[in-house]
């Protein structure tokens, strides 16, 4: 058992009654009309007693757990309450889960991103559960006049064996809610877990399969107006003027106006991505009517000059960020990136004497990898509901990061943040895109202007052309080999537009005596943002493809080669700043080797392997392709994952399967190109997404049994699959694939076959 001090996280134990506006938070989700549908044996209680921010218990023993983080499909709305329920020691079937609204006074880190929800929530949620349990035990001890340490709990029941007294949690809840929060509580031994580690179904599953309103785009209130937006047609352009009369006579159209997303004096934060700071809003009576008006709107656009924006930096200082002028093209992106093959980058890590080793090498292998911009393409387009009247605002919509946008909303509306309530909708996908929530600011400004509730919805074309993309990247790997094919040195030079993908201190750094890592970047006005496993989602593919080619050159099995390097990193690491644990890294390679029967080659199955560490987790993957009708088809994928304790195993496997499908899809098809600043694809007729037929026929996700605290899961299975696929395609076709997307190259070859 571990003892934890509850003072570390005091705000989580505040009672709602102690906070202004507390009732608002509790009422919103009930008003949204979603009755809890968890197996409901107990019925609604007459009264709820709040034990802390996360937990309230009814007099009949029913338990409501608040899931603090926004839900975008990673299933935190089920797994975070599971952690609370475990330490509360309640029966899962009596639990109702409610999405908490944005309430930083009550909850820590209401942010979904970086695969950190469970990792960062682990101790606070366990502590909240254990604290509530301790208060129920204290209440029983007081009522029964027995020592608290003689009381046991199980599945929502309290028992004192000595006196034979028993009660359910509901009977003690009203007294427990009045007691002092204990200063120290004991957490369960992980061997005693009854809920964590047992698969629980998605708490919103029934609502999803029956089409209940769950998403921001589904929200509607009496008197609500609908809004569409029109943004410039290209990066590097801005609004010059528009002709209001071109749409004002149209059916159902109420108003057309432009809005400025940021106030002039506003100092932006890192998540205030300035794609189009001024846009046009069309307000009307229905979505279809405003979308029709959008097509008719006559607007003039002009080239935007270079602009400077103030950005909040570390330590309260603000810095100036330059947004370049110009209309960019993918062809010029490629040639500018290629120039870095000849130019030095910024050295970010150097071990030993790599330059010397390259001079005396008997053989040098050099390969360059690249990948294009990608659009996130969440299935639910950007949208938001806002109701701004006077100096108050209620905003309900899809956001991964309410804290990052609250300051912007407050500044743009000129309303203090305590008068703004952000409520968290279930998101129809996120993938990093909704960490940038300017759709919320836009909806809020539209509502403020018309002083009425409004729902703003982007068209798919708006969504795909609004920026915040995964950047385009390139990486050149070089290896120096001696005459006996021993690896003397490795050199990586990687960069992108507008950021570098390099993680210089990750494997194989630490495993090589002579290692050089260089970085570069090229500024752009095309905006980027986090995209599932930022940077890793490219560099893993480049690095792990290169290691595969290197192993082949050295005559080694690709898994054995990696294990040799990891052994070196474990027993005699080079440098002290290596941000991975070589033993856990090797562990997933060994597990995938076993689970995929790697040693038993089959002539008709072409296998590729890859392994990567990111978001504190280790993943190794094997992709099997077969040739059907002259085309390579992904048959099976085996994944081995070390993410510590797995809270909800089946949902975790689902997440892993999805990340693998996502990776295969983007490796084959993902591409966003630009012509004179405009994206060349704006909908799914041209932007190719992976579909049912292209999905692998089988995916196995295996978790390393672990007692380590949980680490990231939503992202880590994504980066390694790019190289596992490329390495498998090499075996299938005899060709290496250096440029994503792969499908156009495969189709060319297929035509020649």
């Amino acid at each position: 058992m571990t003892k934890v001090n509850t003072k570390l996280d005091r705000r989580s134990f505040l009672k709602v009654s102690a906070l202004a506006g507390g009732g608002m938070m509790l009422s919103f989700s009930w008003l949204a009309g979603c009755k809890p549908t968890v197996e409901e044996e107990l019925g609604l209680p007459k009264e709820w007693f709040e034990l802390n921010s996360y937990i309230k218990i009814g007099e009949n023993g029913a338990v409501t757990l608040y899931s603090p983080n926004p839900e975008f499909g990673s299933n935190v709305k089920t797994s975070m309450p599971m952690i609370l329920a475990e330490e509360l020691d309640t029966d899962w079937k009596n639990v109702w889960v409610e999405q908490a609204d944005f309430y930083p006074e009550r909850f820590d880190r209401q942010f979904t991103g970086g695969s950190q929800g469970i990792r960062m929530g682990w101790t606070p949620l366990r502590t909240a559960g254990a604290t509530a349990r301790a208060m129920l035990v204290a209440a029983a001890a007081q009522s029964w006049n027995v020592p608290a340490n003689e009381i046991t709990t199980s599945a929502g029941m309290l028992e004192h064996k000595g006196s034979g007294k028993k009660a359910n949690y509901g009977e003690m809840a009203s007294l427990a809610a009045t007691l002092e929060v204990p200063e120290e509580v004991e957490l369960k031994d992980i061997n005693d877990f009854k809920i964590i580690g047992q698969s629980k179904k998605n708490v919103d599953g029934q609502k999803i399969v029956t089409g209940k309103p769950l998403f921001g785009i589904d929200h509607k209130v009496e008197g609500m107006k609908y809004a569409a937006i029109v943004h410039p047609p290209a990066f590097g352009m801005r609004l010059k003027s528009f002709d209001k009369s071109s749409v004002m006579g149209m059916s159902g159209i109420q108003d057309v106006f432009s809005i400025n997303v940021f106030k002039d004096d506003y100092v932006q934060n890192f998540f205030d991505t300035t794609t189009f700071p001024e846009i046009i809003a069309i307000v009307g009576n229905s979505t279809w009517e405003v979308m029709q008006a959008k097509k008719n709107l006559v607007a003039e656009w002009e080239k935007a000059p270079e602009t400077k924006i103030a950005m909040a930096g570390f330590g309260g200082n603000s810095m100036e960020v330059t947004v370049p002028a110009g209309l960019e093209n993918s062809s010029s992106h490629k040639s500018r990136m290629a120039e870095f093959l000849k130019k030095p980058g910024t050295v970010v890590r150097k071990d030993g004497d790599p330059e010397g080793m390259f001079k005396k090498a008997a053989k040098v292998i050099e390969r360059t990898y690249s990948a294009p911009f990608l659009a996130h393409n969440t299935m639910e387009p950007m949208n938001c509901f806002a109701d701004v009247k006077g100096d108050r605002a209620v905003i309900y919509g899809p956001t991964q990061a309410p804290e990052f946008i609250m300051g912007t909303i407050s500044s743009s509306l000129g309303i203090p943040r305590e008068n703004i309530q952000i409520n968290l909708a279930r998101m129809g996908g996120g993938f990093g895109r909704r960490a940038y929530s300017h759709h919320m600011v836009e909806a809020a400004l539209i509502s403020q202007k018309i002083q009425a509730p409004v729902k703003m919805v982007y068209s798919r074309e708006d969504d795909m052309s609004a920026g915040v993309y995964r950047p385009t990247y390139s990486a050149t790997y070089r290896a120096a080999l001696d005459e006996n094919n021993n690896l003397l040195a490795l050199h990586v030079k990687a960069g992108g537009i507008p950021e570098s993908p390099l993680h210089a201190n990750r494997f194989p750094a630490g495993a090589l005596d002579n290692y050089l890592a260089e970085s570069w970047d090229i500024p752009s006005n095309i905006t980027i943002g986090a995209f599932r496993a930022p940077r890793s989602n490219f560099i893993a593919g480049a690095e792990q493809s290169f290691l595969d080619e290197l192993a082949e050159e050295m005559g080694k099995d690709p898994i054995d080669f990696r294990l040799e390097l990891l052994k070196r990193a474990e027993t005699d690491p080079v440098g002290s700043n290596n941000d991975y644990d070589p033993k856990r890294y090797a562990g997933v390679l060994q597990l995938v080797k076993e689970k995929s029967n790697w040693s038993q080659a089959q002539s008709n199955i072409h296998r590729g392997v890859s392994a990567y560490f990111c978001h504190n987790s280790y993943v190794a993957e094997v992709v099997d392709t077969v040739i059907k009708d002259n085309k390579p088809v992904v048959e099976s994928v085996y994944a081995a994952v070390d993410c510590g304790i797995v809270v909800n195993p089946d949902a975790a496997a689902n997440m892993g399967e999805g990340a693998i499908v996502d990776g295969i899809g983007n490796a084959f098809f993902g591409e966003l190109a630009f012509n004179n600043g405009a994206p060349t694809k704006t909908n799914f007729d041209t932007y190719r997404m992976i579909r049912q037929k292209e999905s692998p026929k089988k995916i196995e996700v295996h978790f390393v049994e672990s007692t380590e605290n949980p680490t990231g899961l939503g992202e880590p299975l994504f980066p390694p699959v790019f190289a596992a696929l490329a390495n498998s395609l090499y075996k299938a076709t005899g060709k290496r694939y250096y440029e994503q997307p792969f499908a156009p190259q495969l189709e060319m070859e297929n035509l020649r076959m």
Partner: protein
């Protein structure tokens, strides 16, 4: 604007909208049936799939004027108690991640099984290929369609 009598989920409902309005927006904005989702607006993603006289169609490309007189079924009307075999199979396999595309996936699957109660893997893949799932739950979707076919 014009009046249309629509038979949605077994009930006749009257709406007064522009005849070009796609059924998707009539359902969502005028009839408060928001289970049918907007994804692309050009019949490429399948999120807006409904049944028109039992056949799966993309409601984003179906003008309301063409839907009059037909039996329209949405996810809300697929079963009375949310227990259509396809819905049950979706729960059993815990298919959804974000959940946004799943109503469309379920409607496509239900129409497939109505016409072909025992589809092969290839027939399932062909029928479901028009529905994008950005979260990549395709394997569970396929497994759930198979499970549902065994229960029909």
């Amino acid at each position: 604007m014009a009046q249309f009598n629509l038979n949605v989920n077994g009930k006749t409902q009257q709406v007064d909208v522009d005849p070009s309005t796609p059924l998707l927006w009539v359902l969502r904005d005028h009839l408060d049936l928001v289970g049918t989702k907007f994804g692309c607006g050009i019949a490429q993603c399948g999120a807006c799939t409904i049944h028109l006289n039992g056949t799966a169609v993309r409601s984003c490309q179906l003008p309301v004027s063409a839907a009059e007189g037909a039996q329209i079924t949405t996810i809300e009307g697929l079963s009375e108690n949310g227990d259509h075999p396809v819905q049950q199979a979706w729960m059993e396999h815990d298919v959804p991640q974000c959940g946004y595309c799943q109503a469309g996936q379920i409607m496509t699957a239900a129409a497939l099984l109505q016409q072909n109660p025992n589809p092969s893997d290839e027939e399932i893949e062909n029928a479901m290929n028009g529905n994008i799932c950005r979260c990549g739950t395709y394997l569970r979707i396929k497994a759930a369609v198979k499970t549902a076919s065994q229960k029909l």
